[in-house]
């Protein structure tokens, strides 16, 4: 393969500020910092409303990633760490958030965040992270009722998909769309393991399969792997997906097809957020949940 120096796995980082809020007037300014194994997000909420967020890549140090995500989120807002009333860390590196007041598991935070983002009708949350995959059953308040997790195997995680984007030389954000450019759905890649699936994909390419067909076969294998986890727990509607893979319709649509349940559209439950065109990033669910817990804990402490 020709080394073009291009990093096909690299997904775009982003940040956003809500122009309708003056944070200085807010009673509670809380932060949620989600340090995942692959990506990190920071969300700042003012009185429980989304004020700003960042979505960035985790570096080699969790504390540095937490600071980096925070700084990126508050960039241009004038907020500094001492303006935050309560910070909750979550995710794989949650205990390494240097300015965190509390660490809460990503299961609880994703449940809370998905409930807030997608609405109270959500009963099952699928979170596909960079190095894990979780299914969480929640109630109408976003409280966890049960969960299942795979964090042992890279098949069915974001990292597996990054590996394939790199192998095929296709930018990660185009994978989903390109995987549908096939006249008929090929059988899924038969290897469960990402390492073996790579070998299998190389053989398929050598055998004359076009890239889009190989991608379709891999997206479908990934959907099956995720489905095998979902299949162990009774998936109830509404079914919401969080994490980076939510942006890959090639996997999402195939999971919905296997489940025979449509996943929620990636749209804010809050009507005013939709009307004002706030960006909906399914990767920030954990950080949103953490910031909401932050508000709850700050209020409790003040009483």
């Amino acid at each position: 393969m020709v080394n073009t120096g291009k990093e096909f796995w690299r997904w775009p980082e982003s940040r956003w500020t809500n122009p309708h809020i003056d944070w200085r007037r807010g009673e509670w300014v809380t932060a949620g910092i989600d340090i995942g194994s692959v990506s990190s997000q920071a969300v700042i909420m003012v009185n429980g409303e989304l004020f700003c967020f960042s979505n960035t890549r985790t570096g080699s140090s969790s504390p540095a990633s937490a600071v980096n995500a925070f700084n990126m989120a508050v960039d241009g807002t004038g907020i500094t760490i001492k303006d935050i009333h309560f910070t909750v860390g979550t995710g794989y590196g949650r205990i390494n958030v240097p300015f965190g007041n509390r660490a809460i598991t990503e299961i609880a935070c994703h449940a809370k965040g998905a409930n807030w983002m997608y609405g109270p009708d959500v009963r099952t949350v699928l979170d596909i992270g960079g190095q894990d995959c979780k299914v969480i059953k929640i109630d109408e308040k976003g409280k966890v009722k049960a969960f299942l997790m795979n964090d042992k195997c890279s098949a069915g995680t974001g990292l597996g998909m990054e590996t394939f984007a790199e192998l095929l030389g296709i930018p990660i954000q185009d994978v989903g769309e390109i995987s549908f450019m096939v006249s008929e759905e090929p059988p899924p890649v038969s290897s469960n393991c990402v390492v073996f699936a790579k070998t299998e994909a190389i053989n398929l390419l050598r055998g004359g399969w076009p890239k889009e067909k190989v991608l379709a076969a891999y997206c479908s294998a990934m959907a099956q792997k995720v489905f095998s986890l979902l299949d162990k727990i009774e998936v109830e509607k509404e079914f919401a997906i969080t994490g980076g893979i939510t942006k890959n319709q090639g996997v999402v649509k195939r999971i919905s097809r296997l489940l025979d349940i449509e996943a929620c559209e990636t749209k804010w439950y809050k009507k005013e957020y939709r009307e004002m065109g706030f960006p909906f990033d399914p990767q920030i669910a954990g950080a949103i949940g953490a910031a909401l817990f932050g508000k709850f804990l700050a209020e409790k402490a003040a009483k």
Partner: protein
């Protein structure tokens, strides 16, 4: 009678020639893209070193994952059957044989005739196979032959959480940047790999004596890690990567 066993593995192809119950030659080549072509070359090489011609060989049996791609074999036998017969020929006291190849691993319990009593296979996860060590050796810029020595020089037991080759690659980057020494990283990798193999062995139960075969058996560190985890002494035959080819040649002679 002169027979031959050809073991077409995921990475290497091995050929063995047996004459009247004695191994008279062995050959090995990397499988490459064209397995049939390589299998022919390996067979020819084994013939050459024994000064024999194809016509001298009564029967050729093929085994290994690519056994269907051996154009000239008279019959095929499973990897499990070949490993069992091979180790029983080399080490008759062995009752449990662990065969770890490039892309799969299996544990087999056998009786005193080399017949299979029970077995368990991992062919779904790369973390329990030779490709794990190879991938890590490449990242550490270390030759696979040097892995065992590096393991011996380790002074610290570092635990890597990863049970997956893809995750381990990422963890390795962190270890390298944290200035962890190469020997300690190697030990962590080998231990992680042993952690993936041990449950397969436990599934069938360990009966003495225990042998490890396949290319990974050349890795002393791996043997030590398995010995520690199972608390048993492990034997490794000479040229452990040829055991299944020997088994195939033995069955061909029966």
């Amino acid at each position: 009678m002169i027979t031959s066993g050809i073991d077409i593995g995921a990475k290497n192809i091995k050929a063995v020639i047996i004459k009247d119950g004695n191994v008279v030659s062995k050959a090995v080549l990397t499988a490459g893209i064209d397995e049939i072509d390589t299998a022919n070359k390996v067979f020819d090489e084994a013939l050459r070193s024994a000064a024999l011609k194809r016509d001298d060989i009564s029967r050729v049996f093929a085994t290994g994952v690519g056994r269907h791609n051996c154009g000239f074999a008279h019959e095929e036998i499973t990897e499990v059957g070949a490993a069992a017969k091979g180790i029983s020929y080399l080490m008759p006291d062995v009752r449990t044989v662990i065969d770890i190849g490039a892309e799969e691993g299996r544990a087999i319990r056998i009786d005193n005739k080399g017949d299979v009593v029970d077995f368990a296979i991992n062919e779904r996860c790369a973390a329990g196979a030779g490709i794990f060590v190879e991938t890590m050796a490449r990242m550490l810029e270390t030759r696979i032959e040097d892995i065992a020595d590096l393991y011996d020089r380790s002074t610290r037991d570092i635990n890597i959480g990863a049970h997956c080759v893809v995750f381990a690659e990422f963890e390795l980057v962190h270890l390298i940047h944290s200035q962890i020494s190469k020997p300690d990283i190697v030990r962590a990798i080998i231990t992680a790999m042993a952690d993936r193999v041990v449950p397969i062995i436990k599934r069938i139960g360990v009966e003495h004596k225990v042998a490890v075969i396949g290319g990974v058996a050349l890795n002393r560190g791996f043997i030590k890690a398995i010995e520690n985890e199972l608390n048993v002494e492990i034997s490794v035959p000479t040229d452990p990567q040829f055991v299944s080819a020997i088994g195939a040649a033995i069955v061909a002679a029966e």
